[in-house]
C-alpha cells in the first residue's frame, strides 16, 4: 500500500462531480460492485475493515445449489480485484466521516496499520512460526488457533501476513526473523482523506451470537456448532481438513440435527426477520455431510428441524426435494425448545420435539448445528445512522421504496446483506445494481479518473522451438487428494518441448501467479500450460498472467484436471492420475503448435437493445440511458408499456405500483435517447458483442452493441380447484383487481380462502413461484384493513416470507388471518354444494382434523410461467433456457444477469419468478453489466477467428453461403473474412474445398497432435478391456456440462478424454477418422441442444458429419456404433456423466479398435 497521503486525487471538471466511487466493505458485494465500476470507467476505493478481502464467502465450503467450491469461484474475483488498475484497496480501514455533497464527497478513512508491508512479504511463514502467541482463529470460527502474525486464509488478498495489534506481545521475534524486512512494528494509524462521487455501503452482516440462545447451550455443550463452524469443518482448507468431526471426541458423527431459525424469526427477542439463507445452506450442509459419509461408506442420518423451508430462489425447490427424496435428509417441521446434553460420557444431545404427526418425539444426536441467522454489523449501523441513512427497526439499512439500492442520501447506496439478509447471487445482483446506479449518476465524469492497464511488451516473434512451462495445481486438496500431482509434474517434465514443470498449491493465488511469472523469466518460457481447473472459470486469469509475463495470451492454456479427473474419478486415483498425465500431454502437444494471435480492435455500437417493456425493461433502459449515457432501443411486443406489473396494485410493503409504472413510462417516453418500439418483436439478429443488427417484425433494423432480455412472465391459468367453474374462484391477480375495484362481490363476502402453490412446486412444474406467499400476506392485510370482519383462511405449504416480509406475516396473523399448512398429498378440496355455495375442506395441521370452511370466495396463487416467446427469443439471440423455459444465466451465483454469450444479459422474470423490487434490482444490475461493455473505448475482436489463405482461395463462395454471420466477403481477387464479424465457429473451415481457411488456435494439426497423444496399445485392467474414448465437446454447452458433472462430483468412467472445441461444427470428418487412426476405440461429439447452438447451426452440421463418419466406419469395418453425436446444455452435468457411462460400456462390448497401434 502506498502511504495514504498520496492517495488524494484531484477533482474532475464536470459540474464538480468526481469520477470515482468508494465501496465500503469488501465481501462479495463490495468486490462485485468495485469490479463493475472499475470496468465501466470509474476509479474505485475499496475499504475493508478486516485485513483481507472476501468477507464471509471464503469461509463457506460450497455454494448451493451447484456445489461450486466457494473459494474457487471467488478466488478469480479476488485476484482481479487485487490487480485491477482502477481499484485501490484499503484494508484495516474504516470510514469515519463523509463531508461534501452528492457527486463530490470528501471521505475520511482511519487506516489501522498492517505492520507488514505487502509488497515485500513473500509469504514464507517464518514469522508465524516464531510468534509465541496463539489465539483462536476467527476465519476458522475459533475452531483452531493462529499466531498474532498471520494470514487470514491462504488465498487472501492482499497477499501478505498481517499483525493483530490487540494480540501482539511486541516481542519483535517476527521482525528479527523476516528475511525480506517486511515487518515494521512501529507503524501508526493513518488518516486518509479521499474524494469520491458516490459511496456504496456493502458492509455485510454479522452472525447472531449463539450464546444468546440460552436453551440451545452453545458454548456449554461441546457438540453444538454454528452453521459457519460446520462450513469450516466441511471445507478441505478448514481446521479438520474437510472432515466433519465432533468437537468433543473428534469422531465422525452418525446423526446430525440442524436447528433452523436459530436466532431469526424471533420477535420475542427483537429479531423478527427471517435470515433467508439458513434453510438453503442447511440443506447444502446436510447433503455435503451425507456425501462425505457415503464416500467413506458410512451411514449418516441428517435431520433438519424447520418451520418453513424457504427454498424460493431459482433451482432451490428442486434442490430441496432432491435432498429429501434422493439423499434422504429428514425434514421435520418442529421448532426445538431446548437441547439437553446427555451425561452418557459421549456428550450426545437429546432433542425433544413435537412430532408433526402428533405426540412428542425424542432423539439423540451426535452433533447439533444451529443455523444461525444474520444481523447487521453493529459498527456499520452506527455509521449509517450518523450519515442519515435510514435504518429499519432491526438495524439493517433500508433502501428507499422500490429503488432496491438507493438511500435517503443521494449518491449513497447500499448493497448486500446490509440491506436485508440475502444469498450470494442476490447479493451479487444488488451489488451490480448499486454499481450501475452509482455509475449512471456519474456518467458525465465517466472515464475521468481511470488508468489503463499496460502489459509488458509482448514478443512478436513466432517460435522456432517452443519452450513450454507446465504448472500443475493442487487446488488446495481438490486435485491432489485424488490425482498424484508430483507424478503429473514428473511426467510433464519429460514431455517434448517442456523445459520447466512445477506444482503449486493454488495456481490462481497471487503467490503462484508471481511464481509463474518468475519462471517465465528465469527459464525463458514461450508457452504456459496450467493443469488446474476449468478454463471456463480460470482461463482468463491465467491468460492475464501470461500477458503480465510478456507472453501473448493465447500462448497460455489450461488442462482441466480438476473437473475432469479429480472430481469425477475420486475413487480411482490411479486412473485419474493417468488421465491427468494424458490430458497434460495432449494440451502440451496442442500448445506447442500454438502461435500468438493478435487481436484486432473492433468498433463498438454504443446502443443497447432491450426486449420487453415491463418494469424490468423500462428500468434497465432508464439506468443505461441516464443523463448522458447510452442509446437504448426498447422493444415491446404489446401495444403498451408496463407488462405484468400493471396488474399489480400494491407492493409488498404497500408501495404504489401503478404510480411507479406511470413514472417509468413517462420517463421512458420523454427520454431523448430511448427509442420505444411497440407492437413489434425481434425476428432475427446477427453479429456479436459490440455490433449486432436485429431485425424487427415490421422490417426495421436496429444496430446495437448489447442485448438485454427482460421478457417477463405470465400467470398460470389453473385447471385445479374448480377455477373455471365459478366466478367466486379467482387468481391472486384477479382478486387484486376485485379488491382495487371494491367490488360488490367482495363487500358482501364474510369469508375467503386463499390457496398457495397452485401450479407450482408439483411434479410437472417443480419450481417455486416465489412471490405467491408474499402476495397472499399482502392481500390478507389489504382485505383486513378494508373489510375488518372478513374471515380469511390462507392455505399454504411452506410460508416463504423471507427477509422482512416475516414481519408482514406476523401482522397478518395478528390481524386474525388463519394459516393452515396443507400437505401436497392431502391438498385442500374445493367443492360446490347443491345450494351453489363453495365448500373447502382441508386438514388442520395442528389438530389433524378436517376443517370445513364455507367461504364466499376462493383465491388461488397461480404459478408464474415463463413468457411464451422465450423459446423463440432463445433461438434468435442464441441463448439457453433452463428446463422450465426461463432463461439460463451464465453462473447461478456470480453471473446472475449475464449469459455465457458475451454482450447478452437478462433481467426480471425472464430469469425466474421474482417480486417488483427484485425485478428492479436485477434490471439495474443488467444495465450495469451492459454499461461495462458499452463504456469501453474499443472492443478487441474475439481472438480466435477464421483466417483465409487468399492464395489457395478459388472464390467458390462456399463459405459466404455457409456463414451465418456474414463474415466472408468477396474481395478483389479472393474471399476476405472480417475478423470483427467472425465468431470463430469454424464451420467454414471444413467445408472449404481447397482448405484455404484455418481457425486460429484450433486447427486440424492441433487436433491431430492431441489425438496422437492417446496412450498406445490396448489397455486391460482387471481382466477387462479399457476403451479409449475421445469426446469433442463444444465449449459453450457440452464442455460446460462436463465441468458441471465435475462440480457435482458425478462419477463416470475415466476412459473419456475431452477435447474442447469452439463449436461442435468445428469437428471435421477427417478429424474424427484420424482420431480412430490414432487408436481411439470410440469417439463422440457433443454440441449444444438443437436450436441453441451459439453459432446457430454448428451442432446440426456436426450431426451430419457424424452420420457421414458412421457410414465410413461401416464401410471400413470399424462399425458405426463407435462414433456418436450428442446434444447437451450446459446444465446437463448429470446427462454428461450418463453418456460417458453408456458409451464406455458400449465400446467395451465392441472391443478394441482393430487399428489400434501395437494392438
Amino acid at each position: 500500500m502506498e502511504p495514504a497521503a498520496k492517495l488524494v486525487r484531484g477533482k474532475s471538471q464536470s459540474e464538480g462531480k468526481i469520477g470515482s466511487v468508494m465501496v465500503v466493505g469488501a465481501g462479495i458485494a463490495g468486490i462485485q460492485a468495485s469490479l463493475d465500476l472499475a470496468d465501466s470507467g470509474y476509479f474505485v476505493y475499496l475499504v475493508e475493515k478486516s485485513s483481507a478481502l472476501g468477507g464471509t464467502m471464503p469461509m463457506l465450503d460450497k455454494t448451493f445449489p451447484t456445489h461450486d467450491c466457494s473459494l474457487c469461484i471467488l478466488s478469480p474475483k479476488l485476484v482481479e480485484c487485487g490487480r485491477h488498475p482502477n481499484i485501490r484497496i484499503f484494508t484495516g480501514a474504516e470510514l469515519v466521516d463523509i463531508q461534501g455533497e452528492a457527486g463530490n464527497f470528501r471521505l475520511t478513512l482511519r487506516c489501522q496499520p498492517r505492520f507488514v508491508d505487502p509488497t515485500r512479504c513473500r509469504n514464507c511463514g517464518q514469522c508465524a512460526a516464531v510468534c509465541p502467541v496463539r489465539v483462536p482463529d476467527e476465519f476458522n470460527q475459533g475452531l483452531d488457533f493462529r499466531p498474532a502474525i498471520y494470514k487470514p486464509y491462504p488465498q487472501a488478498f492482499p497477499d501478505s501476513y498481517t499483525i493483530d495489534p490487540k494480540r501482539c506481545k511486541r516481542c519483535r521475534a517476527c521482525e528479527r526473523i523476516c528475511p525480506s524486512e517486511a515487518i515494521d512494528l512501529d507503524q501508526k494509524v493513518k488518516v486518509a482523506t479521499l474524494c469520491a462521487g458516490a459511496v456504496i455501503f456493502a458492509c455485510g452482516f454479522e452472525q447472531i451470537d449463539p450464546r444468546e440462545l440460552i436453551s440451545y447451550g452453545y458454548g456449554r455443550f461441546a457438540n453444538v456448532l454454528t452453521s459457519l463452524e460446520v462450513e469450516r469443518l466441511l471445507s478441505a482448507g478448514g481446521p479438520s481438513g474437510g472432515n466433519l468431526l465432533r468437537p468433543s471426541d473428534k469422531r465422525k458423527p452418525a446423526k446430525i440435527a440442524w436447528i433452523q431459525c436459530a436466532g431469526s424469526r424471533t420477535p420475542a427477542a427483537g429479531r423478527g426477520w427471517c435470515s433467508s439463507v439458513c434453510c438453503r445452506s442447511a440443506i447444502k450442509q446436510a447433503i455435503l455431510a451425507k456425501e462425505q459419509a457415503a464416500a467413506k461408506l458410512a451411514e449418516l442420518d441428517a435431520a433438519i428441524f424447520y418451520l418453513d423451508i424457504r427454498a424460493y430462489s431459482k433451482g432451490l425447490e428442486q434442490y430441496y426435494t432432491k435432498a429429501r427424496d434422493l439423499y434422504g435428509v429428514r425434514f421435520i417441521r418442529s421448532r426445538i425448545s431446548e437441547l439437553i446434553e446427555l451425561q452418557d460420557g459421549r456428550k450426545n444431545l437429546l432433542i425433544r420435539y413435537l412430532c408433526p404427526g402428533g405426540g412428542l418425539g425424542a432423539e439423540v444426536f451426535d452433533l447439533v448445528v444451529l443455523s444461525l441467522g444474520f444481523r447487521p454489523p453493529a459498527k456499520a449501523v452506527e455509521l449509517a445512522q450518523r450519515l442519515g441513512i435510514k435504518i429499519n427497526p432491526y438495524g439493517f439499512a433500508e433502501p428507499t421504496p422500490l429503488s432496491g439500492v438507493e438511500t435517503l442520501q443521494p449518491q449513497i447506496f447500499v448493497a448486500g446483506s446490509f440491506a436485508w439478509p440475502q444469498c450470494i447471487s442476490e447479493t451479487v445482483t444488488q451489488a451490480m445494481a448499486a454499481a450501475a446506479v452509482a455509475g449512471s449518476c456519474l456518467d458525465k465524469v465517466r472515464g475521468s479518473m481511470v488508468r489503463e492497464k499496460r502489459y509488458p511488451e509482448q514478443k512478436r516473434k513466432t517460435y522456432q522451438e517452443p519452450r513450454l512451462g507446465v504448472f500443475v495445481c493442487h487446488c488446495g486438496t481438490n486435485i491432489s487428494q485424488v490425482v498424484r500431482v508430483a507424478e503429473v509434474v514428473e511426467a510433464a517434465r519429460h514431455m517434448p518441448q517442456v523445459v520447466y514443470a512445477a506444482d503449486c498449491l493454488h495456481a490462481c493465488s497471487q503467490d503462484s501467479q508471481i511464481a509463474i511469472r518468475e519462471a517465465v523469466r528465469e527459464h525463458n518460457l514461450s508457452h504456459l500450460l496450467i493443469a488446474a481447473c476449468s478454463p471456463a472459470t480460470h482461463g482468463p486469469l491465467f491468460q492475464e498472467t501470461a500477458q503480465e509475463a510478456g507472453l501473448n495470451k493465447y500462448l497460455c492454456d489450461v488442462a482441466n484436471i480438476r473437473n475432469q479427473c479429480a472430481w469425477v474419478h475420486k475413487d480411482l486415483p490411479e486412473e485419474a492420475t493417468d488421465k491427468a498425465k494424458e490430458l497434460v500431454r495432449m494440451k502440451v502437444a496442442k500448445l506447442a503448435l500454438q502461435e500468438p494471435i493478435w487481436p484486432t480492435a473492433v468498433s463498438l455500437t454504443r446502443a443497447a437493445l432491450v426486449i420487453g417493456g415491463g418494469i424490468a425493461g423500462m428500468s434497465c433502459a432508464l439506468t443505461l440511458a441516464a443523463e448522458s449515457g447510452f442509446e437504448v432501443h426498447l422493444v415491446e411486443k404489446s401495444n403498451t408499456l408496463g407488462g405484468m406489473a400493471s396488474k399489480i396494485h400494491q407492493g409488498f410493503r404497500g408501495e404504489n405500483i401503478p404510480g411507479l409504472i406511470d413514472e417509468l413510462v413517462d420517463k421512458v417516453l420523454a427520454h431523448p435517447r430511448i427509442k420505444t418500439y411497440l407492437s413489434v418483436e425481434p425476428i432475427e439478429s446477427c453479429g456479436g458483442m459490440g455490433n449486432c443488427i436485429t431485425t424487427l417484425s415490421d422490417g426495421q433494423k436496429i444496430r446495437h452493441g448489447v442485448i438485454i432480455l427482460a421478457t417477463g412472465g405470465q400467470e398460470y391459468q389453473p385447471s385445479e380447484y374448480l377455477y373455471d367453474q365459478s366466478e367466486r374462484i379467482m387468481t391472486y391477480l384477479e382478486l387484486d383487481q376485485t379488491l382495487a375495484e371494491d367490488a360488490q362481490l367482495l363487500r358482501n363476502s364474510r369469508s375467503i380462502v386463499l390457496i398457495n402453490c397452485v401450479g407450482s412446486r408439483q411434479p410437472d412444474r417443480p419450481y417455486c413461484s416465489r412471490v405467491c406467499c408474499h402476495t397472499s400476506i399482502r392481500l390478507a392485510l389489504a382485505l383486513k384493513s378494508k373489510y375488518p370482519d372478513l374471515d380469511i383462511f390462507i392455505l399454504y405449504r411452506h410460508m416463504r416470507t423471507y427477509g422482512f416480509m416475516e414481519d408482514q406475516y406476523r401482522k397478518a396473523r395478528l390481524a386474525g388471518a388463519t394459516f393452515i399448512r396443507y400437505q401436497p398429498e392431502q391438498k385442500p378440496v374445493v367443492e360446490k354444494t347443491k345450494q351453489g355455495t363453495l365448500r373447502v375442506t382441508v386438514i388442520d395441521h395442528v389438530l389433524r382434523r378436517p376443517l370445513v370452511i364455507e367461504p364466499d370466495l376462493v383465491a388461488l396463487a397461480a404459478a408464474i410461467l415463463p413468457a411464451e416467446d422465450n423459446p423463440k427469443l432463445s433461438r434468435i439471440f442464441k441463448v439457453p433456457l433452463d428446463e422450465h423455459g426461463f432463461f439460463l444465466e451464465a453462473h447461478l451465483k456470480l453471473r446472475p444477469v449475464d449469459f455465457a454469450a458475451k454482450g447478452v444479459f437478462l433481467a426480471g422474470v425472464a430469469h425466474g419468478p421474482k417480486n417488483v423490487e427484485e425485478n428492479l434490482i436485477q434490471a439495474k444490475a443488467a444495465a450495469g453489466r451492459a454499461a461495462c461493455i458499452l463504456s469501453k473505448k474499443t472492443l478487441e475482436s474475439q481472438g480466435i477467428v477464421a483466417r483465409i489463405d487468399q492464395d489457395k482461395c478459388v472464390a467458390c463462395l462456399t463459405c459466404t453461403r455457409l456463414c451465418l454471420f456474414n463474415a466472408p466477403r468477396v474481395g478483389d481477387r479472393a474471399i476476405e473474412i472480417d475478423p470483427s464479424l467472425c465468431q470463430g465457429c469454424g464451420t467454414c473451415v471444413y467445408e472449404c474445398p481447397t482448405q484455404a481457411i484455418t481457425l486460429q488456435g484450433c486447427d486440424d494439426r492441433m487436433y491431430s497432435a492431441m489425438t496422437e497423444c492417446l496412450s498406445a496399445g490396448v489397455q486391460v485392467r482387471q481382466g477387462e478391456f479399457e476403451p479409449k474414448i475421445v469426446a469433442f465437446c463444444c465449449t459453450y454447452c457440452a464442455y460446460a456440462a462436463a465441468d458441471l458433472a465435475g462440480t457435482m462430483r458425478l462419477q463416470y468412467p475415466p476412459n473419456v478424454r475431452i477435447i474442447e472445441v469452439p463449436c461442435s461444427g468445428d469437428v471435421g470428418e477427417q478429424v474424427l477418422i484420424r482420431t480412430f487412426e490414432h487408436g481411439a476405440d470410440g469417439v463422440f461429439v457433443a454440441g449444444c441442444l438443437e436450436g441453441s447452438c451459439h453459432f446457430l447451426q454448428g451442432n446440426c452440421r456436426a450431426r451430419k458429419r457424424v452420420e457421414a463418419v458412421k457410414k465410413i466406419l461401416d464401410e471400413i469395418g470399424l462399425g458405426r456404433e463407435r462414433v456418436e453425436m450428442y446434444n447437451l446444455s450446459s446444465a446437463m452435468g448429470q446427462q454428461f456423466a450418463q453418456i460417458a457411462q453408456q458409451i464406455t460400456e458400449r465400446i467395451r462390448r465392441l472391443g478394441p479398435n482393430p487399428f489400434s497401434r501395437a494392438g
Binding site: P267, D344, R346
Partner: protein, 237 residues
C-alpha cells in the same frame, strides 16, 4: 387473578379428574399413584434414566428409541370441524380480555411450547399448541368441556421459549376464567377453594404434622379460614 366465579360448583363436580395438581390437592399424591399415571400414559421418566448412572449407554439408547416413537399421535377426536359452528370471535375476545394475552394470534404453530412443556411430557393430551389452535379457531365449547385446560403447572417454560412472545400461561388463565364463568370449573379446584375457605391453606394439615410440630415445640398452626373467607367474598367468590 380471580380464578373462580360465583356458582362455579356445578358441572365439573361429577367428572373424574386425572390431573397431578388435582391429586395433590386431594392430598393423595404419593409416589405410587404418580407411577400409576405414568404407566397409564406410557410415560418414561427420561430424566431419571439419564441421571441414573447405573444405566449403561445401550440401555439409554433403547429407552430413547422407545421415546422417539410418537408417544401419543392420536388426535383426541377426528371429527371434522365446521367453521360455521365455531365462534370465530373467541380469539379476539380472549386476546382483548387481558393485556398479556393479546399476542395470542401471533402463534406460528411451531410447537416450541409443547416440546418444552413438562406437563405435556406426562399428559400428552395437554398440548399447549393444540389448545392455542383451538382458541384461535374458536372451539370454545370443546375447550370448556375439556379437562386438560386445568393441567398447567405454571412453570411458564412455554412463554420463555416462544419465539413469537405468545404468553400461553396468561392466555390459558383467561380461558380458565371464561370456562369457570361458564360453570366448567373442575371439582378439584372447587374442593381446593373450599379447603382454602375453611382453613386458609390450600393443602389440608395432616394429623402427623400437627403431632410433629408439638414434638418440636412449635406453636400450633393458626386457622386462617375466617380471614380467607372474608377476603374471598370481598373478591367476589
Amino acid at each position: 387473578m380471580a380464578l373462580l366465579a360465583k356458582g362455579a360448583a356445578g358441572k365439573g363436580e361429577s367428572r373424574s379428574f386425572p390431573c397431578l395438581t388435582a391429586l395433590l390437592a386431594k392430598g393423595a399424591a404419593d409416589t405410587q399413584s404418580i407411577k400409576n399415571y405414568s404407566k397409564r400414559y406410557n410415560y418414561i421418566k427420561l430424566k431419571d434414566i439419564i441421571k441414573d448412572k447405573k444405566y449403561n449407554q445401550r440401555n439409554i439408547k433403547e429407552k430413547i428409541i422407545m421415546l422417539s416413537e410418537p408417544s401419543s399421535g392420536e388426535p383426541l377426536s377426528d371429527l371434522p370441524i365446521k367453521v360455521s359452528g365455531l365462534d370465530r370471535n373467541f380469539r379476539f375476545k380472549v386476546a382483548a380480555s387481558y393485556p398479556l394475552a393479546q399476542e395470542l394470534n401471533a402463534c406460528l404453530t411451531c410447537g416450541t411450547c409443547s416440546a418444552g412443556c413438562p406437563v405435556h411430557r406426562v399428559f400428552p393430551e395437554y398440548d399447549p399448541m393444540k389448545m392455542l389452535r383451538m382458541i384461535h379457531l374458536g372451539m370454545q365449547e370443546e375447550l370448556f368441556h375439556s379437562d386438560y385446560i386445568w393441567y398447567c403447572a405454571t412453570c411458564r417454560t412455554c412463554e420463555q421459549r416462544c419465539p413469537q412472545g405468545v404468553k400461553f400461561f396468561d392466555i390459558l388463565n383467561v380461558v380458565k376464567n371464561l370456562a369457570a364463568q361458564a360453570g366448567y370449573a373442575p371439582s378439584a379446584w372447587i374442593s381446593q377453594l373450599e379447603q382454602l375457605r375453611q382453613t386458609g391453606a390450600v393443602f389440608p394439615t395432616e394429623d402427623t404434622w400437627v403431632a410433629r410440630r408439638r414434638e418440636l415445640s412449635l406453636r400450633p398452626l393458626k386457622n386462617n379460614g375466617e380471614r380467607m373467607s372474608r377476603l374471598l367474598s370481598e373478591a367476589g367468590l
